[in-house]
């Protein structure tokens, strides 16, 4: 047994540090949550106080529900995030498999080309993207966002996944080939389950920026029926007056779905099913 791990003092310090970090990380979320249940004046008077009988109010939530179609925004955000993640993972994994598994001319260059996207922010191309979307008639559709986010997520996905796919045992793939499995079956049935933790990592990395993004929804899909949650919440932030109750309530509700998705993916992160496949 590792001595450092069994030492109670070390354990205490380790847990202390982790708990401290958790508290720091959760603090802003906590402040948002408690203030979303307070009336406007108490938010500014005592931002850190818990809502009590006097200051408790759900006016923020009422405003959010009444103004604008909040559930539609919600649905839009969800559709865009889930669809983008699906395409990022699907195409990212396929490209990564091709790059790591097959020897072909330009393999190396292709890998570098795909990784280039990590270094160049996609927002630099906003104008060109907008022009393209206008030309193809995709402006003000959710597809515009899904396509852009897929493009944005692919470089990192390919980069991370190809590294993990190289670690998948060649013997396993070869056993599949000798048993007559097609390359697609090998990819979907043997390789993908083994890189599931890496897929979950990629999903988590991509999910949050997509969910929170304001830039592309504002530019590519600002129409009422395609507004995302982040964009929808902006109506409460004005140049001169900001409805803080509504903003905090909208944000509180926006946290929930990401939290659920995160829990789903993080379980995958932990679960290792590789044991027993190869020694």
């Amino acid at each position: 047994m590792n001595k450092a791990r069994s030492n109670p003092l070390n354990t205490l310090m380790m847990h202390g540090a982790l708990i401290l970090y958790t508290l720091i990380a959760l603090f802003p979320v906590f402040v948002i949550l408690i203030n979303s249940f307070k009336e406007r004046r108490s938010i500014f008077r005592e931002p850190l106080a818990l809502p009590n009988a006097e200051s408790y109010s759900t006016i923020g939530y009422n405003t959010v529900m009444q103004q604008g179609d909040f559930f539609l925004y919600f649905q839009n955000s969800m559709t865009v995030t889930v669809a983008s993640l699906f395409f990022v993972l699907l195409f990212g994994a396929m490209a990564a498999y091709a790059l790591s598994e097959y020897r072909f001319r330009g393999n190396m260059l292709m890998g570098l080309y795909l990784a280039l996207g990590i270094m160049i922010p996609i927002r630099i191309g906003t104008v060109a993207i907008l022009e393209m979307m206008v030309a193809t008639g995709l402006v003000n559709t959710l597809w515009a966002l899904i396509l852009v986010y897929t493009a944005q997520g692919l470089p990192l996905a390919v980069f991370i996944l190809s590294e993990f796919m190289r670690q998948v045992s060649d013997d396993l793939k070869n056993a599949g080939r000798i048993d007559g499995l097609s390359e697609y079956t090998i990819f979907f049935r043997l390789v993908l389950p083994l890189v599931r933790p890496a897929m979950a990592t990629v999903a988590v990395f991509n999910m949050i920026p997509i969910w929170n993004d304001l830039w592309f929804p504002l530019i590519l899909a600002p129409a009422e029926e395609t507004k995302t949650l982040t964009l929808g919440s902006q109506v409460f932030i004005g140049q001169f007056v900001t409805d803080w109750n509504a903003v905090l309530s909208a944000l509180s509700m926006a946290i929930l779905p990401v939290l659920v998705l995160y829990v789903i993916f993080s379980r995958q992160l932990i679960r290792g099913i590789t044991s027993g496949a190869v020694k």
């Binding site: 013997d171 056993a175 080939r177 007559g180 389950p193 099913i273 496949a277 190869v278």
Partner: protein, 331 residues
């Protein structure tokens, strides 16, 4: 009929020439072992035979048919991998039946073959278990069973025992030898372990740097090695090599004598100083210096030899091998 024949098979990865003009045949029912140091190309050769790598040139025939362009699953082969390569998401039965289902065999045939193979390898109690719930030895048996159910024309084993511990290795080695007798199938077995090669093979192919050094039965190679490499590679402890002028003045050849052919002899040709003694009970291995050349003698029985002692080692001249400057055997 020949189970496998290779004609002038070459394989290059880019600039690196890995296999050079390999010519050999495996007869029906023969157990052939490819042996050589790591990096000699033996695993690559096995992959070329399996169809996992394409030969750069040359012709591969399995059961008489040219299979250069045939995909692995259609070559009538089955392979057992060093890392077992069991499908983690399938239980033992699923692992064994996957290939048969791909071949669209009937349920009755599949069931019968699974029964047969699991009986041979004592896997009946484990059929519903997953690979992660099995020990290393059991996993290896599942991997072998998965090959058997396919009833291939040719079995390929890629260092199947190197992940097992010593005791299990010996048991599995005997199990594989028994299987070969029961099935009467042609098998190719890759290993770097000369003991496995000597004990299992009908025919050994010694490879070095992508070239076949010698092909023959274990005893042929042991008694009549073609060159210094084969002589030194087979046999344990390895053959001693020293300049022949230690024994005879003016002789520029290299002399080779097996440790088991050396004996203590007061009038022996080699004056040696003992540097280390390994007492194994049945044998005594004496490691000694002869003119700064290290010589190992394997003496049968127990001997009172201690490090630092001076002694003379003799051998029967007809047990000595001679090699020229290029390492080729000469008389």
């Amino acid at each position: 009929m020949t189970a496998l024949s290779l004609q002038n098979v070459n394989k290059s990865f880019g600039e690196v020439h890995v296999l050079k003009d390999i010519n050999m045949e495996v007869e029906e029912g023969e157990f052939v072992v490819f042996v050589g140091p790591s990096g000699c190309g033996k695993s690559t050769l096995l992959r070329v035979i399996a169809g996992l790598e394409d030969a750069s040139s040359g012709e591969i025939r399995i059961g008489g048919d040219v299979v250069n362009l045939t995909p692995p699953s259609k070559r009538g082969i089955a392979m057992v991998f060093q890392s077992y390569a069991l499908y983690p998401h399938l239980n033992v039965r699923g692992n064994m039946t996957l290939a048969l289902k791909q071949e669209r065999q009937s349920k009755a045939v599949i069931e019968e073959r699974v029964q047969e193979a699991s009986r041979m390898l004592n896997l009946e109690p484990y059929l519903e278990r997953f690979p992660s719930e099995l020990s290393g030895g059991q996993r290896q048996r599942v991997a072998i069973a998965r090959a058997i159910v396919r009833e291939p024309k040719l079995f390929l084993f890629d260092e199947p025992l190197s992940n097992l511990d010593a005791a299990l290795r010996m048991n599995t080695r005997i199990e594989i030898a028994n299987l070969h007798r029961q099935l009467g199938a042609s098998m190719i077995y890759v290993t770097h372990d000369q003991t496995e090669a000597m004990t299992l093979a009908d025919k050994i192919v010694v490879l070095r740097d992508g070239r076949v050094e010698q092909i023959g039965s274990p005893m042929e190679l042991y008694n009549n090695p073609a060159n210094q490499f084969v002589a030194g590679f087979l046999g344990s402890p390895a053959m001693n090599f020293f300049p022949a002028e230690l024994v005879q003045d003016g002789d520029d050849r290299t002399m080779g004598v097996r440790p088991e052919d050396l004996f203590l002899d007061d009038s022996g040709a080699l004056a040696a100083r003992v540097s280390h003694v390994e007492k194994l009970g049945g044998d005594t291995n004496v490691i000694a210096q002869v003119n700064r050349h290290q010589i190992t003698a394997r003496l049968f029985g127990q001997h009172a030899v201690e490090p630092g002692q001076d002694l003379r080692l003799g051998f029967n001249p007809q047990n000595a091998f001679h090699f020229n400057g290029e390492g080729m055997r000469v008389e």
